[in-house]
């Protein structure tokens, strides 16, 4: 597998009372950008919190650079963590916050490090304003500056693009790619497929607290694209449309609902998106409504787990 793992999880589980948040998860994290992908409530944040030592495991072990992460403060000289919550002190200016974090992480020249980190997130103009006056995106960026101020070897980011506008997203993505190219190991969590696609070379798919799949993003994306889709179509002539769509390559099966809508089963929804309107036009059938029935992230991830 190439480089030595930076982080190793071995049989990690975590439960809260009778609720199992993470179940028997094992994987290695190597240099580069790794994305923890999964729907909300899948256990990504719990996993990330255990990986950075904020939460204990119920069973299993987690090591970073070969050392246990839990109750090991010296390790935080090498780690930067940005939690999902907006954990800032509103009464502080951005610069005060970053400077304090530099001092707490025992950076040799904290003022210079703070300047550098604030410059990196492009917030020099707003650094002397209280953080309570920042927009959500600005807070995220200033928190990122505080996370990067000691130039960590490992960066852990929980839903880092929440609240960022498109321009900030692009800036953020470029920054992470630069850091990864510079040798930083980055682990980030997200419930948005495209976000992970643009950032992570390796994806760990977490569903219901379990590792559902892992590997390169393309393999996971291909698996997603091959899943069957159900599309509900409301039209002027449902039975005529049902008969007609059966002739399309992209359609596997059609059923007619009692309410008159038809439900199309397709494994090639991209072609269906093009073919269906053309067919309706040529057959002089009016389409009133076309909607995917199972396009939620949960159903996408659920499909991968069941395979």
């Amino acid at each position: 597998m190439g480089a030595e793992p930076i982080i190793r999880l071995d049989g990690v589980s975590r439960w809260y009372g009778s609720v199992v948040a993470v179940s028997d998860v094992s994987f290695d994290i190597r240099p580069g950008i790794t994305g923890l992908l999964g729907p909300n409530g899948a256990g990504k944040s719990t996993l990330l919190r255990m990986m950075n030592g904020l939460a204990a495991t119920s069973t299993g072990t987690i090591t970073m650079f070969g050392e246990p992460v839990r109750d090991n403060p010296p390790l935080y000289r090498r780690i930067g963590v940005m939690a999902e919550h907006e954990t800032v002190y509103d009464f502080m200016t951005g610069r005060e916050f970053v400077l304090m974090m530099a001092r707490l992480r025992q950076v040799a020249r904290p003022a210079e490090a703070a300047d550098r980190a604030i410059e990196l997130v492009d917030l020099a103009d707003a650094q002397h304003r209280r953080m309570g006056t920042y927009s959500r995106g600005m807070r995220q960026r200033m928190r990122l500056a505080a996370t990067l101020v000691h130039e960590p070897e490992v960066l852990m980011l929980d839903e880092p693009l929440n609240g960022a506008d498109p321009r900030q997203r692009v800036h953020f993505q470029q920054l992470l790619h630069r850091l990864a190219e510079g040798g930083t190991t980055i682990v980030l969590s997200s419930h948005i497929l495209e976000e992970v696609e643009q950032l992570a070379g390796t994806v760990l798919l977490i569903v219901n607290g379990k590792l559902a799949a892992s590997g390169g993003f393309r393999a996971i994306r291909a698996a997603l694209d091959q899943r069957p889709y159900h599309v509900r179509v409301v039209s002027d002539a449902p039975r005529r449309l049902a008969a007609a769509v059966l002739g399309l390559e992209s359609v596997e099966a059609v059923t007619v609902d009692p309410d008159g809508a038809i439900v199309i089963l397709s494994r090639n929804v991209r072609d269906l998106q093009v073919e269906l309107p053309r067919l309706a036009q040529s057959s002089r059938i009016g389409l009133r409504r076309v909607e995917p029935l199972d396009d939620s992230l949960e159903s996408v991830f659920g499909y991968l787990v069941e395979r």
Partner: protein, 237 residues
């Protein structure tokens, strides 16, 4: 440690919080003034028991310290900012020490001033008496701060639990259950007052001064250890 200390000073120095603790701290000297000019003057024993022992050491000091120390770590947990401190190479005991020191720094001057003024007024400018009462009050502040710092970390209902403790344990049970007095910060303060100025509580405190000093040290260290242990083992939100 300095960064966490300065951060905590800012966190604990909200205008409303300071106003409330100033009002509570003003009560003992006000009562002392009223007692001095009252037509039915209190005896020294009665004044010491009611004002120094109960109002100052058993009510004002713990209430002020509760408002400060319980928030020092408790608000970090509630606001989910504690991770900023624990995700650093700073040893846990240093975080606790900085929080404790800041709590004492904020609460101490209020209670020290309150104690000094109360004794100065009541004992007609007797410096020894005023100093003894002040030092004893500050000892109480340190002990209450250690206890309430821990309470703020372990309970999201620290203020309610602290009030119950002040009213039931320090105010009620320690008044007549001799065993409870051995574990009462109020009575340690009284013992220290007596040790520094034997004219205070001249009939003799319920806890011997030497025992009070020893147990105080154990209580202080014990709560610090409990807080550090909790900080090391808890899931930080």
């Amino acid at each position: 440690m300095t960064s966490i200390y300065l951060l905590t000073l800012r966190q604990l120095s909200g205008r409303w919080r300071l106003l409330i603790i100033a009002l509570v701290s003003a009560l003992p000297p006000l009562v002392a003034v009223m007692a001095l000019y009252s037509s039915s003057a209190l005896s020294v024993d009665a004044f010491e028991t009611a004002v120094l022992g109960t109002l100052l050491a058993g009510a004002a000091a713990p209430l002020v310290v509760l408002a400060i120390a319980a928030a020092a770590l408790g608000n970090e947990v509630e606001d989910r900012t504690l991770a900023n401190l624990t995700l650093t190479p700073v040893p846990r005991w240093r975080i606790v020490a900085a929080k404790l020191l800041a709590s004492i720094t904020v609460a101490g001057p209020f209670i020290a001033a309150s104690a000094f003024l109360t004794a100065w007024v009541a004992f007609l400018g007797d410096a020894t008496a005023a100093l003894a009462v002040t030092v004893a009050a500050v000892v109480g502040v340190a002990l209450y701060a250690a206890a309430f710092l821990w309470l703020g970390l372990v309970s999201s209902y620290a203020i309610g639990a602290g009030l119950l403790y002040i009213v039931l344990w320090e105010g009620f049970l320690s008044g007549f259950v001799s065993g409870v007095r051995l574990l009462s910060i109020r009575h340690y303060s009284i013992a220290v007052m007596h040790a520094l100025d034997p004219r205070r509580f001249a009939a003799g405190p319920h806890v011997a001064p030497s025992a009070a000093v020893l147990i105080s040290a154990l209580v202080f260290a014990g709560f610090i250890m409990l807080t550090v242990r909790r900080l090391r083992r808890m899931d930080v939100p």
